[in-house]
């Protein structure tokens, strides 16, 4: 009687939760219950197999970090896919079948990514839109390759398409490409300024920063400081005072927006004026409030803003009507679905070989513009453009 009250308060948090709490109780009262839990694996499995059996529709999957640190990125990604599927079904489905979308949450954790991949295989998905993080896409793609499921990702780590997997495609550029673009921009526009290249130790950030550094040295632009920090920290005063000591004016940063916000704020607090250049993840509008007034110092590379495409106008409208701003990778996720649907139509089947063949050879017109994949599965013409944040939205930088 001492302990129960707060349990109730916990239970209260959601009705869904109570469904689960049934499962918990299994654990509680010793053995026979626990036995049920072991059977729980079975039940879970059965439930899934049934759900597969139940729907004769065509199933496609979208996978990304729906929870956790990068949840907002995953959310954009999911919304894009949902919209695409909605539109496809509105247009009478695909090959006469209604399309169902299943969502997989990998929390950007490689282990969970594999688990998600297997559950997709189980649900007999015909196509996977994702994953979002490079570190999830890498292990998951093995499973999809195994099970012969075509996949279109937005992960930018070069390695992904370098492993000779036939069925994986990338609808964005690669870190090395955007690194180049960023590097060039710095070399041209910040001549003679003191430049530092910093990255947080993530698969994404490290790769990007290395590419920027490479490009800078190629352009004989000196870098006064090359540094790595640990993502997830809150205190970057060490880095800031190091930048200050080196009189750095331009900071090229490889990493996610959370750290960017903190670095900018702490730099401002230490009275250090910085221009910051980063990669595609800085499109996330969380950065706006997080960085505060500093936001206007942020420059980043991103593929041409699809919202400005005529082809995207309808979709953008539809999304805005639902109070969803189609920012970041939302439209790319949408485009991935489009590409698959298109390829399937041309192949007149969702069979792996046929679809992949189409994806490799045909060229598609999507909300992000014309899409052409090369032999490795990368875009033939990955355009990266430089943007600058202005208040609540970003715009092209006119060189």
């Amino acid at each position: 009687m001492i302990n129960e009250a707060p349990q109730e308060t916990i239970e209260a948090s959601t009705d869904r939760f109570r469904i689960e709490s049934e499962h918990l109780e299994m654990g509680m009262n010793g053995l026979k219950h626990s036995m049920n839990v072991v059977a729980g694996i079975g039940l879970g499995g059965l439930a899934l197999t049934w759900s597969v059996a139940a729907c004769a529709n065509l199933v496609v999957g979208v996978a990304g970090p729906m929870t956790g640190e990068y949840a907002s990125g995953g959310e954009q990604f999911r919304k894009g896919a949902e919209q695409a599927v909605k539109d496809i079904n509105a247009a009478g489905g695909l090959l006469g079948q209604k399309v169902d979308l299943v969502v997989g949450d990998d929390v950007c954790d490689p282990k969970q990514a594999v688990s998600v991949a297997n559950s997709f295989v189980n649900k007999k998905v015909a196509f996977v839109d994702g994953h979002w993080c490079s570190s999830s896409t890498l292990p998951a793609s093995d499973v999809y390759n195994d099970a012969q499921i075509p996949q279109v990702t937005v992960s930018t780590n070069p390695k992904i398409t370098e492993r000779g997997i036939q069925g994986i495609f990338r609808i964005t550029g690669r870190d090395d490409q955007q690194g180049q673009v960023a590097g060039d921009y710095i070399a041209e526009n910040f001549k003679g300024k003191k430049i530092a290249v910093v990255d947080e130790k993530t698969a994404y950030g490290g790769g990007l920063a290395d590419e920027i550094a490479k490009e800078l040295s190629a352009k004989q632009t000196p870098v006064v400081l090359r540094q790595s920090i640990t993502a997830g920290e809150k205190d970057y005063s060490g880095l800031v005072s190091k930048l200050k000591a080196n009189g750095v004016e331009v900071l090229a940063y490889g990493g996610y927006y959370q750290e960017v916000a903190l670095i900018l704020r702490q730099a401002a607090q230490a009275g250090l004026k910085l221009a910051l250049i980063g990669g595609d993840t800085l499109t996330n509008n969380e950065l706006v409030n997080a960085a505060g007034p500093e936001i206007n110092k942020v420059i980043f590379t991103f593929p041409p803003d699809p919202r400005k495409n005529a082809a995207a106008a309808k979709v953008v409208e539809a999304l805005r009507a639902q109070k969803i701003e189609p920012e970041g990778y939302m439209l790319y996720s949408y485009a991935a679905m489009q590409v698959f649907a298109d390829a399937a139509k041309r192949a007149n089947s969702t069979d792996y070989a046929a679809v992949v063949k189409q994806l490799h050879n045909a060229s598609f017109s999507t909300v992000v513009g014309p899409v052409d994949f090369d032999a490795k599965g990368d875009l033939k013409s990955p355009g990266y453009v430089v943007y600058r944040w202005k208040g609540n939205n970003y715009e092209y930088v006119n060189k």
Binding site: K234, S241, A245, G292
Partner: protein
């Protein structure tokens, strides 16, 4: 590790050439500020440990919750048209401490009281469970996006203003943080040493059974201890929100580990120890990050902790336990 050592040495050489006093001073300031925050959280760990001899793994997340409360509160106050900075901070502090200590109480009631007297690991696990729960509860109810407020206290003092922007700079926020911490520490020490509750609390640390026989409500004392710990974490939460201005549901873990390390380094169970440990760790991080390799600063922290414990198995200020035969 070897590589790490090598590269740090290299960094040391390169950075020492460009180093000037002002940067050292700057890092000293930053380090102490950071240390003050760690210290405030560490006291929570150390008090709880002192009284029930257990780690409260949820403590870091209580601090995280308090940071979120602070964000909400700041926003509310701002929108309610109160412009005075002092008033804003005061109100927020009060609200945060009140609500957060409620969390502290709940944690004790849910995760600890039912398990009193059972194996020492049971409460450890339940507190890990609570910590996971809090993180996800916040993520669901408050959203996974980072919350951020505009800097409330701006400006500061240039200590060595001389050679351009190479001066050491103390922001008013930093001064505020250190000041509040010092005040709190003094008041708190008095509270523990002078008040009757303080005496009861310390008596409980000595011998709970006896206190029970003497007719004191030990449960109540323990619950209060948790609430006080949470209250201090709340202050830390507010300060961090002021200092960094950016909060997300994952800040609890990092800070928790650091504060816990601080508590152990200083000698778990000792209040001055917790503060000392906090400052030491803050300084290690600040200087290591500035002069050696930022990516290895946590390694440094833990290595130093281990070395200290190898020579002083019960921390810097902890009373060494004699092997009772």
């Amino acid at each position: 590790m070897k590589y790490g050592g090598a590269c740090t040495l290299h960094r040391l050489r390169t950075s020492l050439t460009g180093v000037d006093m002002s940067q050292a001073l700057q890092q000293l300031i930053n380090g102490i500020t950071l240390g003050a925050i760690y210290g405030l959280i560490a006291i929570g760990y150390t008090m709880v440990y002192g009284i029930i001899g257990m780690i409260n793994f949820a403590h870091g997340d209580i601090y995280m919750v308090s940071a979120f409360i602070a964000v909400t509160c700041f926003t509310l106050v701002a929108s309610s048209g109160i412009s005075s900075v002092v008033a804003t901070i005061a109100i927020t502090l009060v609200v945060c401490i009140a609500l957060t200590s409620a969390f502290g109480w709940t944690v004790e009631r849910v995760g600890y009281r039912p398990l009193r007297g059972s194996s020492r690991l049971a409460p450890l696990i339940s507190s890990i469970g609570i910590s996971i729960f809090l993180q996800n509860a916040v993520q669901i109810t408050q959203g996974a996006r980072v919350k951020s407020i505009q800097p409330l206290v701006t400006g500061g003092v240039n200590l060595i203003a001389a050679e351009g922007h190479h001066g050491a700079y103390v922001s008013y926020t930093q001064i505020l943080i250190v000041a509040v911490t010092v005040l709190l520490m003094c008041g708190f020490t008095l509270f523990i040493n002078r008040t009757s509750f303080g005496r009861q609390q310390r008596a409980c640390e000595q011998d709970q059974r006896m206190m029970q026989f003497l007719g004191y409500n030990v449960d109540r004392i323990i619950a209060l201890t948790f609430m006080i710990g949470a209250g201090l974490a709340a202050v830390a939460g507010v300060m961090v929100t002021l200092y960094y201005g950016v909060v997300d549901f994952s800040i609890g873990f990092q800070a928790g580990i650091k504060a816990f390390t601080a508590a152990v380094l200083g000698g778990i169970g000792s209040l001055p120890g917790a503060m000392l440990g906090g400052v030491i760790i803050g300084l290690i991080e600040a200087f290591w990050a500035a002069y050696l390799s930022p990516e290895y600063k946590d390694v440094a922290t833990f290595v130093i902790l281990i070395v200290v414990l190898m020579f002083r198995p019960s921390g810097l200020l902890g009373r060494p336990e004699v092997e009772k035969v």
